[in-house]
């Protein structure tokens, strides 16, 4: 009796295990069905009941707790390697030129500036009585020092100042001159910088965050920047806050800077608290944090709304996802093949599955937040499998006996590199491309390996995402065949090359808009990549923090940080 009972259990358990493994096999072959999902626009949901603010938050009458993910402790602009250190450093270091909520330049440390008629000479006029947080004066000498150190041969940070073409910077780097000819300190409040080539971004590049010469330049000798490492953890700047304490992996604490030029910030203490996606909603709910960015889905938005005390902003992120074509491969050189691959991919379905309404298809190689974004005359490449098939037939790729197209004995087999094992593109592309006779082979690997393969040209398709985009040139630069190191995809189009260099040869925005309009048309007709998606972000903050607008251009660290107030 007992034996039979036990064997019955064993049988049923193994049956369950068999069935469940069968289940997963079926799922991967199933057609991915996406219901009609409507796209969600940008939204601003105001707090309905600020009195519901949690007690823990209400008790903090003089402290604003913002959220950060992984600061690394390198609190020095131009030298940190980790984007989060940028967030942590912004409240401490002010720039000559700041940004308004739309990304336009406004005066910060510089009260005004002049640009010569040939757009090559920039003169910044500093405000009177500027001081660093320790009371030492901030003058044009500090600006000159900052720009000089960026041209030091040992500088290995993220800012490539050579794109500004400051006169005399090459001579300084090579050791032929002891200072940079083009940087001239006219008087303690005026600095004049002469460049040799027009760059529309120079106003903000040259007018960036200012480092103290007395503090950071004390032991400076050309060619040796190691001494700065000792100063990473103890920054000195002229921003609204100065650093109080850094607790690795936990918090970065700041106190208001009495010497801030626009007046001491009304909120005495600022804390950047380390949070993770697992618990950031709970931390916000219980008042441990006053703001954060959350998972972009309906459940989270509904929950944030239900709190009552939260202002919620759903806005588009200034980046886009895309798939590289390896334009050096012979079978991808033909533009009709590339066009066919875009027509043959149901990108709307990918967006629906991946973002469930919180994303949209990208058709222009820039983000909707950049001023050059313009959909006039752009081919949207609506999903059309018959058109894709026609293009491939016309290009000489005939369907073989196994269903895969071939030409001159070569099969149209494309490898696809991605870092996500749950990449939504994989099942959809495999199905769509099979229908038009293209063999799609996904390969999943970690990021560094993918970049290594990308640089070696060992791929056909590769899935990537741009960084945050501010200027139209940011994203199209890599399509110029003249920029050999950025151009990983091997794309070469003389019309595009000409338009890309024209785009940065003038400062006039109206002229640039026209140039980029033409460029986008060309890049759509001869596509270097498959554009995939724009996505939304969900940010929320406790309405007790007045004056904060947490959108994707100006977050917590914006130029108006010192103007925020707490009203419990």
């Amino acid at each position: 009796m007992k034996k039979r009972f036990i064997s019955a259990i064993i049988l049923s358990v193994s049956a369950v295990m068999l069935l469940s493994s069968c289940g997963t096999k079926v799922a991967s072959n199933q057609n991915v069905k996406a219901s009609k999902v409507s796209s969600i626009g940008d939204q601003y949901i105001k707090a309905t009941d600020p009195s519901k603010s949690p007690d823990k938050a209400k008790q903090r009458t003089d402290t604003f707790v913002a959220a950060i993910s992984e600061p690394g402790g390198v609190f020095l602009p131009y030298f940190y390697d980790n984007g989060w250190d940028g967030n942590a450093t912004d409240p401490i270091f002010a720039s000559l030129v700041g940004q308004d909520p739309k990304g336009n330049p406004i005066p910060d440390l510089a009260k005004s500036w002049n640009i010569s008629s040939d757009n090559l000479t920039y003169t910044y006029h500093l405000r009177q009585g500027l001081k660093f947080s320790d009371g030492s004066p901030l003058t044009a000498d500090d600006v000159a020092f900052t720009l000089t150190i960026l041209d030091d041969p040992a500088y290995s940070g993220y800012l490539d100042i050579s794109t500004s073409f400051i006169k005399g910077s090459e001579a300084y780097k090579d050791g032929k001159a002891d200072s940079i000819e083009g940087i001239k300190v006219v008087d303690p409040l005026t600095i004049k910088i002469t460049t040799e080539k027009v760059n529309p971004l120079n106003l903000t590049i040259l007018g960036g965050q200012v480092l103290s010469k007395a503090y950071y330049g004390k032991d400076y000798k050309r060619g040796s920047l190691d001494y700065l490492k000792a100063l990473y953890a103890t920054p000195l700047g002229a921003g609204p806050y100065k650093i109080d304490k850094y607790i690795p992996g936990q918090e970065v604490r700041y106190t208001a800077n009495d010497n801030y030029y626009a007046g001491k910030p009304k909120i005495e203490n600022l804390i950047y608290k380390v949070t993770s996606k697992d618990t950031n909603l709970q931390l916000f709910q219980t008042g441990e944090t006053d703001e954060d960015g959350f998972t972009t889905d309906k459940d989270t938005v509904d929950e944030l709304e239900s709190f009552g005390f939260a202002n919620v902003r759903i806005s588009t992120v200034s980046d886009y996802g895309y798939i590289y074509f390896n334009n050096k491969k012979s079978y991808l050189k033909d533009k009709s093949v590339r066009q066919a691959l875009i027509y043959g991919l149901d990108r709307q379905k990918i967006i629906d599955v991946k973002y469930k309404g919180y994303g949209q298809v990208a058709n222009i190689p820039t983000s909707p937040l950049v001023w050059s974004y313009n959909e006039d005359g752009i081919n949207k490449y609506k999903f059309d499998q018959s058109k894709a098939k026609k293009l491939l037939d016309a290009a000489g790729w005939k369907v073989g006996s196994d269903g895969i197209r071939e030409k001159n004995g070569q099969k149209l087999r494309l490898s696809y590199l991605t870092t996500k094992s749950t990449d939504e593109i994989i099942p959809i592309a495999k199905e769509d491309y099979k229908a038009i006779g293209v063999d799609f082979e996904p390969e999943i690997m970690d990021f560094n390996t993918l970049v290594g393969k990308l640089n070696k040209g060992d791929y056909d398709l590769a899935s990537v995402r741009t960084n945050g985009l501010v200027d139209p040139n940011d994203s199209v630069e890599e399509f110029s065949s003249k920029k050999t190191s950025e151009n990983v995809s091997g794309y070469s189009d003389p019309v595009a090359d000409k338009l890309i260099s024209e785009g940065v040869s003038t400062v006039d925005i109206k002229k640039r808009k026209v140039i980029y309009q033409k460029l986008y048309k060309e890049l759509t007709d001869n596509p270097p990549v498959i554009l995939i998606d724009y996505r939304k972000s969900v940010k929320a903050w406790n309405s007790r923090i007045k004056g904060l607008d947490n959108n994707n251009f100006s977050g917590v660290s914006s130029t108006n940080l010192s103007k925020l107030k707490i009203e419990n």
């Binding site: 903090r60 402290t63 707790v65 992984e70 690394g72 402790g73 390198v74 030298f79 940190y80 390697d81 980790n82 290995s156 993220y158 490539d160 490492k229 990473y232 607790i247 690795p248 992996g249 936990q250 918090e251 604490r253 203490n269 804390i271 608290k273 380390v274 949070t275 993770s276 697992d278 618990t279 709970q282 931390l283 709910q285 219980t286 441990e288 944090t289 970690d446 990021f447 560094n448 390996t449 993918l450 970049v451 290594g452 393969k453 640089n455 990537v464 960084n467 050999t484 190191s485 950025e486 990983v488």
Partner: protein, 318 residues
Amino acid sequence: MKKYILRRFIHMIPTLIGVSVIIFYLFALMPGDYIDSNRQITAQRAHDLRVLYGLDKPIIMRYFIWVKNAMEGNFGFSLKYLESVTKLINQYIWNSFIIAIVTLALTWSIALVIGVYTATKQHSLFDRLVTLGVFASLSFPSFFLGLLMIKFFGVDLKILPLGGMIDTGSTSTGLSYVLEVIRHMILPVGILTFLSIGSLTRYFRSGMIDALKLDFIRTARAKGLKERTIVFKHALKNAILPAITLLAFELPGLFSGAIITEQIFNWPGIGRLQLEALSFRDYPVLMTFTMLLSFLTIMGNFFADVLYAVADPRIRLK
């Protein structure tokens, strides 16, 4: 005895060397290096950086440079954090250590008591309930339990903190700081203890049951000794012997950090540093940390051998 210890100690050295060679080569052979992770820099800059960091030299040379530096106590500079590896690891490893050692102490004491008790009262109701609890502990994934407890104790009941090592903006020092950290440790230690207790309890239980079946126990009972003396003095000493080896092998675990638990509780431990260093190919950190764990494992093995010889006279006399 001394010869035995000396022999075991000398055996450690070639093992250490061999391990360091293998680890170094495996990491060096991984495709993609740290410079690759930055897509923005020009090819010239990438080359210059590689020369700067010594990544362009052949692997053998890089290994000996590393060994020479390690002998001097210089374990290199983290490529990502731009500070010395020893300083970086030191900042985080002790946070993981305090969680691990408290968990270890609690797990072992509780598992010992429960294991012994259920062995003496085999097949009783208590034993069956404990078995159920053990299987529960072995089945729950740590993140699920962690998030559930955070919601229950942190959000609903509001009696325990939601994570981190200290309260937000806390400036407490001395005793109040210690108490605050302890308060924050309750949930992560509790969860880790619950999850580890299962297998250890079963281990002690079966060890005790086997010991209680031995002949000399029957003799002791026949002699009329108290049951308590039999269990705790005679049987337990024999049952614990294999556990000594287990304890010694816990040594590397004290310093390796519980990656998932640390992530959920925002505990600034070494687990996250490890993962990051791996995905960013931060070689100096990876090498140093892996060597540290290997060294601790080898040391643990050595201690296990020595302790076993101390505890069990039969080994000593061999």
